[in-house]
């Protein structure tokens, strides 16, 4: 503080001398008068004073500069050197406006020369300190941490230390750890040097040394996590299993980077460039930029890559990682220079959302492309139904994330649900998307069902598949999304197919068994004959149905029973009463065994064997 006052005083004195002194000699005289007046001025104002200051600084500084040993290793020397540099910098600043004076000019040249040599030396000291700081870190076997449970980054070092120690990958549970990559004393010294270099206008040199060193450190840290640099094309052509591994590594790496490495670098920048906030900001951005780009680039590659449905869950992982780390990202890169990085991150976040939506679209295409001709023999459950339902159930485990993803999009242009469905189900875009996929599946199943020659088998097929769908939807998040009304409607569908089946399979048989007022209009022998014919028809129809349907299957046990019971329930009484009618005809009763092939119990037995799927009468 006193120095400033003195400087001002000196400046005023000089100014007066200059203004009043019309000649050089006059000015000198005035200065001499001032010098005589005040001892401080004497030293500062006289040419001799300037030279003296310079010479003394030269002696001190040259001594340090010419020493081989690093100056910082001796704290007393270090601070003395820095102090001298401060004085030199102040002197240069003071003398520069007076450069017109030839004597001062030559001293200024020497001073600037000395300053440059000091700066060069300081730069060397700076680098050496950083190097040494890093070395001492290796000796302690990893970074100095404040908490005991840490990541498996230390595994490499730990193994070297102790052969008995079995490295177990510790999950990074606590991200509050701010890692000191360098010891505190070193950081302080680095700051002292940086201060002087920036003040002397050597900020570029200082920043350069700093940035180079930290970038290498970061790259090394990341490679220890096993993360390799991958181009977009490489990721695009990678085998899925390999890519899954890379994604795992990437998730870990980006968490470590954003929660540990970058905050640590930020803190380092802030401490070393304390007081020079734009230098701190710029250097931080330059140090972390490359690594950030590498990490973001990988996420981008995943977003740009294939939309194969199997990739959904891993892409969701990447998306959720980016989403969850976004607050950290924006906090860490909040400075003026990092705007483009923030924008990149957001763009990639959006692309990942698109990728997820694209995957569902690809699922739709997959369903549509599934050939109609590949209907399942026996009308059973089709693989595509099983695939889609299990897929959607698995997807709905990430329901919240998916809601987010679809909320930001434009829903499919046609909301295919009818009014009731819309009203009662979840009105979210995700619900709409799910309903749409179900619609696509429905169309595909319809097309497949038409391949069957028998209408009854068509109904069996649809019954089976919709039963499965309803079951998978009912007790799941998927059910909430689609809504109760949707479920109710599809359950009704299953019942409808049940009815259709029964009608198309059994109405003919039942028709045969219908004995109306034949006996009234025709003669007893005519009645007997027609009954015999009916019986014959019944036998052949029934035989045929049992043969045809022997390979048909209903996979759901409950549904199978229901079907059997309902068939039995209509056929049995009809047959029983028909048999009853037969017994009234003496003609037939005489040769009952010959005509009646099945007892009522036989019929019921045959029916109870239906829908098992193992054909007793192979076609």
């Amino acid at each position: 503080m006193a120095e400033n006052g003195e400087e001002k005083l000196v400046a005023v004195a000089r100014h007066i001398a200059k203004t009043l002194g019309h000649t050089d000699t006059m000015a000198e005289d005035i200065l001499r008068i001032f010098s005589n007046f005040d001892g401080r001025l004497r030293e500062k104002l006289s040419d001799d004073g300037v030279k003296q200051t310079l010479n003394s600084l030269d002696r001190k500084i040259s001594g340090y500069i010419s020493a081989d040993a690093p100056i910082w290793s001796n704290p007393a020397n270090f601070y003395s050197f820095l102090d001298s540099v401060d004085q030199l910098t102040a002197a240069v600043r003071e003398w520069t406006p007076l450069a017109d004076d030839k004597n001062i000019s030559s001293c200024l040249d020497r001073a600037e020369d000395l300053l440059q040599r000091s700066m060069f030396r300081l730069e060397d000291e700076f680098r050496a300190l950083m190097e040494r700081g890093a070395k001492s870190l290796d000796l302690t076997g990893g970074r100095a941490v404040h908490r005991p449970d840490y990541s498996d980054e230390e595994d490499d070092a730990s193994v070297e230390d102790d052969d008995n120690f079995v490295p177990v990958a510790q999950p990074i549970t606590d991200y509050d750890v701010v890692v000191d990559a360098l010891p505190a004393g070193t950081i302080g010294d680095l700051h002292e040097i940086a201060r002087r270099m920036v003040a002397a206008g050597y900020v570029n040199e200082c920043s350069h040394a700093f940035n180079m060193w930290r970038r290498e450190f970061l790259e090394e840290s990341l490679s220890r996590l096993g993360l390799q640099k991958l181009g977009i094309d490489e990721v695009h052509r990678m085998q899925w299993t390999q890519l899954e591994d890379e994604i795992e590594k990437w998730i870990k790496a980006i968490n470590v980077a954003l929660r540990i490495l970058f905050p640590s670098e930020r803190s380092l920048c802030d401490r070393i460039f304390l007081g020079f906030s734009s230098a701190a900001d710029l250097n931080f951005m330059e140090v972390c930029r490359g690594l950030t780009i590498q990490l973001l680039n990988f996420a981008d590659a995943v977003a740009i890559g294939s939309r194969s449905p199997e990739r959904l869950f891993k892409v969701l992982d990447v998306y959720e990682t980016v989403r969850d780390l976004m607050p950290e990202f924006e906090l860490i890169f909040s400075d003026q220079y990092s705007l483009s990085l923030r924008n990149e991150a957001i763009a990639i976040w959006k692309r990942l959302e698109e990728a997820i939506r694209g995957i569902f679209m690809e699922l739709e295409n997959l369903i549509r492309r599934d050939p109609a001709k590949s209907a399942v023999p026996g009308g059973g459950l089709h693989p595509i139904t099983r695939y889609v339902m299990n897929y959607l159930r698995a997807a709905c485990r990430s329901r919240l994330t998916l809601e987010q993803v679809f909320e930001d999009s434009v829903a499919p242009s046609v909301d295919c649900r009818d009014g009731d469905d819309k009203a009662l189900s979840s009105s979210s875009s995700l619900g709409v998307q799910m309903a749409w996929i179900m619609e696509v599946l429905e169309c595909n199943l319809e097309a497949k069902s038409k391949v069957y020659r028998e209408a009854a088998l068509c109904s069996v097929f649809l019954m089976n598949n919709w039963r499965y769908i309803v079951q998978k939807v009912k007790d799941d998040e998927l059910g909430t999304l689609l809504g109760d009304d949707w479920i109710r409607k599809r359950t009704a569908k299953v019942r409808q197919y049940h009815v259709n089946y029964q009608r198309s399979s059994w109405s003919k048989v039942l028709g045969v068994l219908k004995v109306d007022s034949i006996s009234n209009s025709t003669s007893p022998s005519g009645a007997s004959k027609s009954l015999k014919e009916k019986l014959k028809l019944f036998n052949s129809y029934f035989e045929e149905i049992c043969k045809t349907q022997s390979s048909w299957v209903i996979f759901d046990e409950q549904l199978r029973e229901e079907l059997r019971i309902s068939v039995s329930g209509t056929l049995s009484p009809a047959y029983r009463s028909f048999i009853g009618r037969l017994q009234a005809v003496p003609d037939i009763v005489k040769h009952m065994d010959r005509h009646v092939r099945y007892s009522v119990e036989d019929v019921e037995a045959r029916i109870s064997m239906l829908f098992q799927g193992n054909g007793s009468g192979r076609r």
């Binding site: 040599r117 060069f120 570029n204 977009i232 740009i304 698109e354 690809e362 739709e364």
Partner: protein, 389 residues
């Protein structure tokens, strides 16, 4: 890498593609046609014409403009415009594009687009390299750019920055080597006792793997890129010509970027299918030839990038080096004037780079985003058209 082949198409040198389309147009006038048929021809013809015009404009650049930052930005602008027009063509023709043979052609184009993305990323890294060189120039300016008479100290400082700059540009050329150990003994009072290994200007490309090669990537983009034949053009109504054109434009723009800006394994021997069938082929191929000529020049052969501003850096650095080497103290007035002159040169180069690099990088990034966007949208709309057949 073999030299580019000259495979002239066997058809007549007149713009064959155009004659096909114009013949059809005559037919169209002579009979009733749907609006669609004329609409499509006009759209495709317009595309050809616009591509040609843009590249004619770029080819009109003189030797000072060619491969300068402003010219590169014009090139990227032209690419973005072509891309947008092509996107519209894809939208309007999506039902044709999901059937053979066009489905193969369009998916092939989108595959090439993905390869171009890596080039964009590598170029972005290259621009960052140039920024590092800019910082060394800034030191030179800081040291010698004052009005005051300059002392030995400032010269030493400038010299060190120039040495660092030379090392950086050298490192860039050997971008496949690992850590460069350099002994920076110049400018020290004492000789270095030991060789310190500095994490120097090692070209750390963050976006591509160490084994990535720009030359190989370009080769992949250009592989099997041949002009469609007459009968194919007829059968697709000229649509495959549009795809071929966009492919070619993509290839050329990526190639030019690699030529100009430092990146890993810059090789310019990419095979360009030679064709004079199309209006735009003439200016593109002429630019191609001129750039190759530039690359062969004695003082550019070993350059790490043909960007004119890089050449300017090399020149002004060389002049500055020669000057500082010939300096004796005290400076004569003549020498002082020379120093001021050279410094002005440095300042001009520095300003051009400082002003030019940020917008250039933004544009390269924009190209990246648009390629992704148009690929995603294109694939989506085509696959949707597929399912609504």
């Amino acid at each position: 890498m073999p030299a580019t082949d000259y495979q002239e198409s066997s058809s007549s040198p007149s713009s064959f593609g155009f004659s096909i389309l114009s013949r059809r147009r005559d037919q169209v006038h002579s009979m009733e046609s749907t609006h669609d048929a004329t609409g499509q021809e006009t759209e495709l013809e317009a595309f050809q014409r616009q591509v040609a015009e843009r590249f004619q404009d770029l080819a009109a650049a003189d030797s000072h403009e060619l491969l300068s930052i402003p010219w590169i930005r014009k090139l990227l602008d032209a690419f973005l415009c072509c891309q947008e027009e092509f996107k519209i063509i894809v939208m309007n023709n999506k039902s044709k594009l999901n059937k053979p043979p066009m489905d193969r052609h369009i998916s092939d184009f989108f595959e090439r687009s993905v390869k171009a993305l890596d080039v964009c990323n590598a170029i972005r890294d290259g621009i960052e390299q140039i920024r590092q060189w800019e910082k060394q120039l800034e030191i030179v300016l800081c040291a010698l750019g004052n009005q005051r008479s300059i002392g030995e100290g400032q010269f030493r400082r400038a010299k060190k920055a120039l040495v660092d700059l030379a090392i950086a540009m050298l490192d860039e050329k050997d971008s496949n080597t690992t850590l460069a150990h350099r002994n920076r003994s110049f400018g020290r009072h004492n000789a270095q006792k030991e060789q310190r290994s500095f994490g120097h200007f090692r070209s750390l490309s963050w976006s591509v793997s160490r084994s990535w090669s720009a030359a190989r990537q370009l080769q992949a983009i250009s592989s099997n890129l041949v002009a469609p034949r007459g009968n194919e053009i007829m059968s697709t109504n000229g649509l495959n010509v549009a795809v071929f054109t966009m492919n070619y434009v993509l290839l050329f723009v990526m190639w030019a970027l690699v030529a100009a800006i430092p990146c890993q394994d810059r090789g310019l021997q990419t095979h360009f299918y030679m064709t004079r069938q199309f209006l735009w082929a003439v200016p593109i191929l002429s630019l191609h030839e001129r750039i190759l000529e530039e690359a062969k020049k004695r003082d550019r052969r070993n350059s790490c990038g043909l960007l004119k501003e890089i050449h300017d850096i090399e020149k002004c650095a060389r002049h500055m080096n020669e000057l500082t080497d010939s300096i004796h103290f005290p400076l004569t007035e003549e020498k002082e004037r020379e120093v001021k002159q050279r410094i002005e040169e440095v300042r001009r180069v520095y300003d051009a780079i400082k002003d030019g690099l940020d917008p250039l990088e933004r544009q390269v990034r924009e190209v990246f985003h648009r390629i992704v966007r148009s690929r995603t949208d294109g694939l989506d709309s085509i696959s949707r058209a597929n399912s609504h057949d």
